[in-house]
Symmetry: C2
Subunit: 225 residues, 2 copies
Amino acid sequence: MDTPFIPTVVEMTDEEYAVEVATYEPLAQSVRRLANASLLTTLTENEIAPIRAEIDALARRLEASQRTAAFGVTVTPSGRVRGHGNAVVGMRNPIAVPVKIVQDKERQRADASFHLGPLYEGPPQSVHGGVVALILDQLCGEAAAAGGVPGMTGTLTIRYEQRTPLGDCSASAWVDHVEGVKTFVKGEMRQADGEVTATCEGIFIIPRWVREMIAQGQPKPSRFE
Amino acid sequence: MDTPFIPTVVEMTDEEYAVEVATYEPLAQSVRRLANASLLTTLTENEIAPIRAEIDALARRLEASQRTAAFGVTVTPSGRVRGHGNAVVGMRNPIAVPVKIVQDKERQRADASFHLGPLYEGPPQSVHGGVVALILDQLCGEAAAAGGVPGMTGTLTIRYEQRTPLGDCSASAWVDHVEGVKTFVKGEMRQADGEVTATCEGIFIIPRWVREMIAQGQPKPSRFE
């Protein structure tokens, strides 16, 4: 990746942040439920048409006032990260699970438990192999950040041991070792009973511009995207 | 993967298939638009609440009659594949782009052009690295199938060269070579101007049960999941 970013700080109090979450998180949850229902419904053509018209009308109401660019990533002065549009963890993103990742700085790792329903299907009744990769990519990046060495994904290798049944899943990633500017992260996806279904290794690279900041005596940013 | 499947054949005429597409594809498109609008809207708490109540009411109407399991993969007698719930290509799946993949059997490759909007964001204004992996996984699998050697994903390695800006993108995958039961597939993701942003290599393995079918003189299945 050649264009990393340090998130912009936005003026937002913790109270304003709480209102933001209380407003938009339930909206995304409702759209997720609608997406699932629209995938699984067996209503017929004549029954679907009026429902679709109402969905379009609701979209128009939401579109009456909207940001013109993608959500991006910002932080509040107290350090709350507003990556609300993220495709894996974004609380405002209806296509995100969302996966709630717990970073453990001491153990340089990241863990998550989550439910993958029919929207995440690949092989019948199984999690799409690419969805396994999608979640492990996010988790490995957060493990590298938890280890104090955030970086841009250089390479990511997924090894599929067996299919991952749709349903409750969990995943973990941890810093294996650091070689110069490269952080080697390992991770795994598990099915409901805890059995590992896929493993991965990611190499995260500290970009040159961060190395130059450090060489010039500036503090290393704790987070960039 | 230890549990591959040959898709079940369902009794469905081409006319019935056409009605299915005409009914549910626009529904998924409307839900995609709503998802995008809900991510980007700047309406306030009091304006959002009644919209959310209407979304919930629509979900309940769709849920009044629905399948109880994930969509799965079936084929019609004329060979149309009904993987409508697939997280990447499923026309009924609102979280799918959906990516429309063109398989070229003669050249043993698969190609696709698609638009990735704000719902697929990772780093600011950029495609999530895991979404790059998600799409390349599907594309590599279809390239292996186009090459006549469908298999289960064994490993997938993604190398990120630079960030992929949100917007128009394209991707390709092709069979590089075959070694016994392993098919080696290579692929790449490109940004709007055609510049490569990520490359990948996947190894697809013909499962033992397919090898046994072939050894017993049975025809090799043209597709399995």
